[in-house]
Symmetry: D2
Subunit: 342 residues, 4 copies
């Protein structure tokens, strides 16, 4: 941290800041400029958060953080890249993975036909919502345990590992029993009570970026999971909220490259939520792989116009197969190229 004193601050105020820095467990280094003094607080064992409160001390103009606040997720902690194993599937390895499936599990028929279709097209994991976060209380909220049972059943048939969203600490146990990977939805990225419980679970976690979360905040949410004991975390970029209205969200692909640079965790991309438009899923998927994403998660429904949720951004099985065909080369080579480079 650097504490920036106001230009009209007094010596006594400066001394007070110096004393507080010591109390907080850091070493102060003062630099006197022509107009103002700045004080660097040096050390790593102290209480960062207490330093930030110095912004309220008399004579202080600003407190500017210098180092990143995350540790375990950082590439400075771990030089290699993390690989997360989900059943037979490895996320973060040489091949990019494709997770596909419906927004919500709606029925046995819908789920089985989707699962068979995406497997035939080359997807290696199945997504499907059992508990759905919906903006309106009057929208379809998911089939709950019934959906979980169907997901388990379809995995037995197809062999595809299952990822599904967990919205509440109360559902963690039952979902862990049925699913292979637990998803934290974008709107729950900073649901710290949920993160703390998921840190104790013996399942990998798919952590979606919040719609207004900075890359730092996203990595700090992952830090909750690692710090609590769960190292198997996959990050997922799914678009952020901006002023643009033609697309549901603004897909922040550069954040994928940045997250991979700052962290050793794998990063996948959700072009379905990221754009909200079926016509943009193929080009957005290509770009995601080109920028180094470790995989994709794509919404697929046998009949999108009858989907109970997210129909407008879901591909049908034929469209999905076409997208997969157009991606087949990058899926194998791009990730490998980046792995070689890293």
């Amino acid at each position: 941290m650097v504490i920036n004193m106001a230009s009209n601050s007094t010596e006594a105020e400066l001394q007070h800041v110096i004393d507080r820095i010591k109390e907080c467990g850091f070493t102060p280094h003062v630099t006197r400029g022509s107009e103002r003094a700045i004080v660097a607080a040096v050390g790593s064992g102290g209480n960062r958060s207490a330093l930030e409160a110095l912004k309220a001390a008399p004579g202080v103009e600003d407190v500017v953080p210098i180092a990143h606040p995350f540790k375990l997720v950082s590439r400075q902690t771990r030089s290699g890249r993390t690989r997360v194993q989900v059943g037979e599937v490895c996320i973060g390895g040489d091949e990019a993975v494709v997770i596909a499936g419906p927004c919500s599990v709606e029925s046995r028929e819908q789920l089985f036909s989707t699962a068979r279709g995406i497997k035939a097209a080359g997807a290696t994991m199945l997504r499907g919502g059992a508990y759905k976060p919906r903006t309106s209380p009057y929208d379809f909220q998911g089939l709950g345990v019934e959906a979980l049972r169907l997901l388990r059943e379809v995995r037995e048939e197809t062999g595809l590992p299952i990822v599904t969203e967990v919205m509440s600490t109360e559902d963690i146990d039952v979902i862990s029993e049925h699913a292979d990977m637990l998803q934290v939805g974008a709107r729950n990225m900073q649901n710290f009570a949920l993160l703390r419980q998921l840190a104790k679970v013996d399942k990998p976690i798919l952590l979606k970026r919040g719609p207004s979360a900075s890359v730092k905040e996203w990595l700090l949410a992952a830090e909750y999971l690692l710090a609590g004991g769960n190292p198997n975390v996959v990050l997922c970029e799914r678009g952020i909220k901006t002023f643009e209205t033609e697309m549901r969200n603004t897909l922040d692909l550069a954040a994928v490259a940045l997250a991979r640079e700052l962290s050793h965790l794998p990063v996948i991309v959700d072009p379905s939520h990221g754009t909200g438009r079926r016509d943009l899923i193929q080009p957005a998927s290509r770009a995601a792989l080109a920028i180094g994403a470790d995989g994709l998660i794509i919404e697929v429904h046998p009949c999108p116009e009858r989907a109970l949720s997210d129909g407008a951004q879901s591909l049908n099985l034929e469209e999905f197969a076409k997208v997969m065909a157009s991606l087949s080369a990058p899926l194998r080579s791009v990730a490998a190229a980046f792995a070689a480079q890293a």
Copy 2:
């Protein structure tokens, strides 16, 4: 909903849309323009969400919602304004209320001195965090049940009703035992599992607006509470995330007027989080009352520079007393003026 057909869509595609609208429980009305057809789906009993999925039907360019999606929170449902009673305090009545207190309960001494100070200055409710949502897992996370006990004790002495944040469904029972009002934090505004449980609680709820929630999404979050059985909801504007970096958030005061126009629920303002700057709390509070807010919630700490959280935006007791003095006239008259007008 209005379904906007693409300019090159076929008659068969149009007929398909007409059929689907009927299946969804609405009546279709077709308007043929020079370049394209549009179809209005009329009625109120049908499945809105199913209509939205028509965006995925062949020949459809866009589906545009016409009516607002919320019901119970709407002023069209209830013409008068809701008053929420919290102990002796009425939020939404003729006088604007001021809730004040520390971000986190840190100790008996800190809490009692704050509570006595804010009461002396004219505040009528006490805030204080027991369970804290913190961006970093390494920051102070709150004293939990111990804090709840202290809050209850200080209420016995001062008579000030207590509002405190609930972060998880698991904590609802114990918090309900100790507090008078339960707060849903900004980052949990769309934690629907939490909202559904709080809808069943016999305590009023303070619902903070999410940092990237539109006014519509905020009202739909409140709709979860009303639809689930809890009519005692107070909305709280606390700033949204924008590109501006000089302030922690952008305080969206016009949204207060808009929320009061669209809904009958009371709306209060949090200038502490809304600006993140101690120097802006007084002018932002004045403006909040002038735009019709039903109250304020302000962070106060006996020694902000030693606060374990949010020190930079907390007032000390003397500063808070000054702010209260400068607000005394508007606190009484402005809300009344608006009430008269409404």
Copy 3:
């Protein structure tokens, strides 16, 4: 500036940074931490922009500015508040001013009836567009010189000083001949060629904040005017672009208080563009005055539904008179109260 070295940087890289800081005219002060070194560049006469480029030097992780980059607009340069005289009207004095009028001058009749109406209601300056910046080339672009002549004529009758927008350096001369104050529109806030010419004009300037300009960028745009020789600048907050769609812009009222704290220039508020909704203009105007704005600029049209531009956010004359009546007390007292305080 503080130069933050990477944790794995070398001594040679550090020495290089030290050398460059000296070359740029600053004095380097090195602080060695447990993990990394930071270097403060002290002094005020050097080349800030050259220091920023050090971000590209080997071993440098980040370059963090400490002091604000503006000078002449700063309150540190001038302790009193600037008053800008426009004809008989003083902006920045004890009374808040109200500027009103149509978005565009459309006809003699429209302009004269508006001018008479707003004067009767208490406005003291007239706005009216002659050259209009329109998002689409197919929309009404203004009457140009004809509008300027009408504005001059209506001033002769009513005595109201005129403010009108200048979109191009080529129009500066003719507009200066006819108008009393020249407006830089939001979309031209960073049209530096225009600012540089306006700095040489002997007329006061109304500088609107850009829809995505930070407060710092806004003040730096004003710095162009002051540095080029024109001290008579009034800032105007008119809303910024965010994800919210119910309002045309998000009116950033806290930025008004912040701009008044950082700068000695007067700040007025445009609730018409700031909200884009006629129903929010009265409450937003009240809040603007309460937060310390030196005045308001409001769009008024005799028949908003027939306006050639911005009809949706324009008040008719009767509505405007009502707003003025409800503001009469704050117009006189609030500004005075803030002036006393400052």
Copy 4:
């Protein structure tokens, strides 16, 4: 347009809307729902902007546009893709182009060494600023005509066509004399006075997207150029402003795919401004090509840490050569693949 009547509107108000729609040159079609009526205004010859003002008519709740407001830039107007010829270079053809060069022309030596270096690495056009838009008046503002002369000279030697920014209508003539392509900078995207003059110039235009411009607004800015007579327009995505602070802007790559879908104009990407980080330029460039961009524009400087502007985001010549080597395959094949597909 669809006019949405308020639920409590009267028959007279509805009739008034119907009459106004006719006056504006459209045909009204009324649909009466259970709660409200909506009126579609059908036709293409009428005055859209006048219809929008109906939002201010009594009984009207909202006016919702249905069709896109742009015409000449639309793919519905022209089915093939536009190719823009700049000297020998074709933008929008089978091969993606790379434009490279310094942010500002600083000296003969700097410019010539950069031009030779980027040509050797495979770039086919040179960028270089003569007139610089700078946030602060105290930053380097460009060498002006001297820079133009140097650019012309370096073209004679290298054969690379030149693109440089025009900030003011006054500079159009002199820049047109020296440069092959004129750039409209992001902050001038809605400088309509400038656009109108550039529409009359016999040079191709590079139109950067504004930092807070929606895709629609960007295309409407291009519409100014085409409607005014200049069909040779290349769009350039360079990042938008969001809350993210780790990158200078948020590069909106999906907008590239969307712009190419809505318009026949070529679209290139500026990863330098789009990310503001040298370390992200290579992956962002790969992704840009993968999503279908027709080219790249990259900032290169012989010694970025001594650059007078944008050093932090500029590559040195060696780094640029590496990026070019890693892109060589996609530069040839990707654009061709997309062209085949379109």
